[in-house]
């Protein structure tokens, strides 16, 4: 479809100055899509393996504790915490609060930092306290 050059073009995304609020917005969608596919598949695999018996469960546990399984698990836990915190931010914005530009950017940055801290804390706890 050809565009009539006389008609105005809606603002292209690239005209906006990149900021933490934009990053958190798209990360909420990206992490949600990741959790909904990879995360949901892992949840079903874990439960079905547990219901199928010892061997099926050991096969799941073998994958989950392999280096690729741990990379996926760390990624999923970060995606979970990021989606959780940016989701809470969305709930606050849904009631009409938190739209002032400085506060909005501050809490967007806080969800990024919080997700990284919670992910690090979870895996530190697993390694240090539970001994992996």
């Amino acid at each position: 479809m050809s565009r009539n050059p006389d008609r105005p073009l809606s603002p292209h995304l690239s005209v906006y100055k990149w900021g933490p609020h934009m990053l958190v917005s798209i990360l909420h969608r990206v992490t949600g899509a990741g959790l909904a596919t990879v995360g949901a598949a892992a949840l079903v695999w874990w439960l079905v393996a547990a219901a199928s018996g010892k061997e099926a469960y050991q096969s799941f546990a073998g994958w989950a504790t392999s280096w690729i399984g741990i990379v996926v698990a760390v990624g999923l836990s970060w995606a979970f915490f990021q989606h959780l915190l940016s989701g809470l931010r969305h709930l606050v914005m849904d009631i009409g609060a938190g739209f002032e530009i400085q506060g909005n950017k501050f809490w967007a940055t806080m969800t990024l930092a919080g997700a990284l801290l919670l992910t690090a804390g979870l895996w530190l706890y697993i390694v240090m306290v539970r001994g992996a």
Partner: protein, 149 residues
Amino acid sequence: MSMDTTQSGEPGASPATDPVTRTPLGKVRGTGSAREGAEHWWHERLSSVAVLMLFVWLIVSLLRLPALDHRGVTEWLRDPLAAVPMLLLVAATFWHLKMGLQVVIEDYVHDEGNKFLAMLLLSFAAVGGAAFAIFAVLKIAFAATGLRG
């Protein structure tokens, strides 16, 4: 899910406000639209709070389990106080992820045919995934001693 393909685009042509399409009974009652426009949006928020609480429960429960091996997990899930929240978690999670992915599809898949197909596959995958997970939890919860071997 909007499957509306009308291209009229006239302002005020919605059934709620258009004097031509609005029924006399609707005019008398002053009901306007069916008032379900925000339902999907609201259910997404509702399920998000449910998923939030249930996943905090799951993570805390798993971290408190003495062992995450087959015996440890199945004996834990045999307790109704673990099996029931797990069933709620599966239901709420697949409900929430279905609604979330639906919005992603609506935003990025513009071809009506592809959109319909994507919605169909999403619905089947969400219901199918939830059914498998629920069956697995019930099988563990209702098994007397059969899973120990």
